[in-house]
Amino acid sequence: MGTPMPETAATQLDFLESMLRIRFFEEEVGRLRAEGSIVGSVHLCNGQEAVHAGACAALDPSRDAVFPTYRGHGWTLACGVPPYALFAELLGRQTGVNGGRGGSAYLTAPEYGMYGENSIVGAGAPIAAGAALAATFDGSGRVALAAFGDGAMNQGAVHEAMNFAAVRDLPVIFLVENNHYSELTPIASMVRGDRLFARASAYGMPGGRVDGNDPAAVRDAVAQAVERARGGHGPALIEAMTQRIVGHYIGDAQHYRPPGELEAALADEPIARLLATLRETIPHAELDALSERVRAEIADASARAQADPPADPSTVLEHLYA
């Protein structure tokens, strides 16, 4: 992939801001879930923010389409959805991006290029291939990005989507967020050979691995795949290595993680890592101010969303059919 250019401070600060927005959002969600304001199963993405911030920096929000999973708050924010509308959705408010119909695990925000979380493991991959298929007819130049976990690589639909995309040269990127676990089970025990990206060759498409805790590295890998795809050269598989530094769902005690693993992950998590770099060149006060600004933005968004009325049951039967 060549030697990466040194990043400008502005870019790095953009990454930092984007990742902080996600992190603070997730922390607030954790709080709201703990106090019972948000209910149901919630999957936070803490530790994986560099994937979302990096990948979205390589996409064109005016035409590209992202298809994440239930662990999709980070993707949703990185696509540009206002935290307020996302909080409102998670809180089941009428003002949520889907008026409360989607919830944490199945929301969609097409105006922002976020074409839907998916709570069925792997199911977004064929749909993203379909979005790419449309692009081969509509002249939009759209690239679709399907994001899913390491565990999803063992789901039949993902296999079918990859072969289908490869054989039709569809402009779609399959991005595996390898956080080493599928729910409570290590991916290493569910595959023989853990180089998931190497499966790309089975489909005759390029595959590669990238440091998923480095937003610039993710951006570059995705940008390269986007260029290929937009040029009509078909799909690619990118495996972004990362760690979630929280449970699979809120409440998961993570007993299955070996001692020391979480500590190591925390030492290498993308925000701490980027902050450490930036502190070498940028005044700490500036970084602190950025952080405070984002924190305040999130607090304000949460407060506003909480003040909104619950979803209106009188509308519940609408929009089932055209």
């Binding site: 379909g130 449309a134 692009a135 039949g156 289908f164």
Partner: protein, 343 residues
Amino acid sequence: MPETRDLSYAEAVNAALARALDERPETLLFGEDVALPGGVFGVTKGLRRRFGERVFDTPISESAIIGGAVGAAMFGRRPIVEIMWADFFLVALDQVVNQAANVRYVSRGAVTAPITIRTQQGSAPGACAQHSQSLEAVFAHVPGLRVAMPATHQDAYDLLLAAVWCDDPVIVIENRTLYHTGRRPVGVNGGIQPAEGALIRRPGADVTLLTWGAMLHAALEAAELAAGRGIDAEVIDARWIRPLDLDTVLASVERTGRLVVAHEAHTTGGVGGEVLAAVAESGVRLRSAPLRVGAPPVRMPAAPALARAVVPNALTIADALIRSAAGGSVGAAAEGAADVPRR
């Protein structure tokens, strides 16, 4: 310009596809063997040559086919895909039920999935248990889907176009035993119908006989057999299984006071149960217990001698009509109900 052409059922489907591809540039047609080979039943012949890359063959990957259709539909395409046998839906039902059916509802109409999935189903001599099922009840239970079952050459044309024009995900269930049963006059290029509505195929005064799909032809035969016994059956073709046109059924039952529902699917849990339930709920007073004619609880055996024993036909339907007409008021034990072992 509306005109009439002599077409087989398969040719009627082909004509509808050609019209859709012609009039709506956003349509796509894909599936296994549908393009270059023209379909395993020859239904899609010539469409690739005529419409080029918008018609293409796919790998044997039903999840990719349906999921690909859903994704393409979200971005303005109007995919028409084929699942070669209804039985094969079962490897990819997620993309229909958990995906296509949800798109519009969850987004409150901001994104939609106007896809048409053509398939065919049913028993035919020699077909095995994995190629014989009638699965409309599975789809009919799913809010967000529409389900059509064209029984006639004309409906093979009309219902398919209604499906393609409709902005909802629609499953059109054809029947391979009808594809090549000879040509009939089919009105083409007329208006596009709404994606709903039953039709009375034979007016009658004594018993309402509701059916759909290929079973319509057995039902019409049964009505003639019953007529020979002085029973005047009204045969209704449901045409759309979801939404089910209960108004037409109820209006008929109100007149006849008797109801028989016949379908090829298994009786237990089949759509016939939905109809009997809706009629019971409506409070319409029946003059005899309603009856269902369907397949008993078996897997479909391949040998014709065995399949014949379990697939409903004109005789078993006529028998039900006769029993229905002979039955006393509700309250008398209906003999028919005991015929089929229940599991």
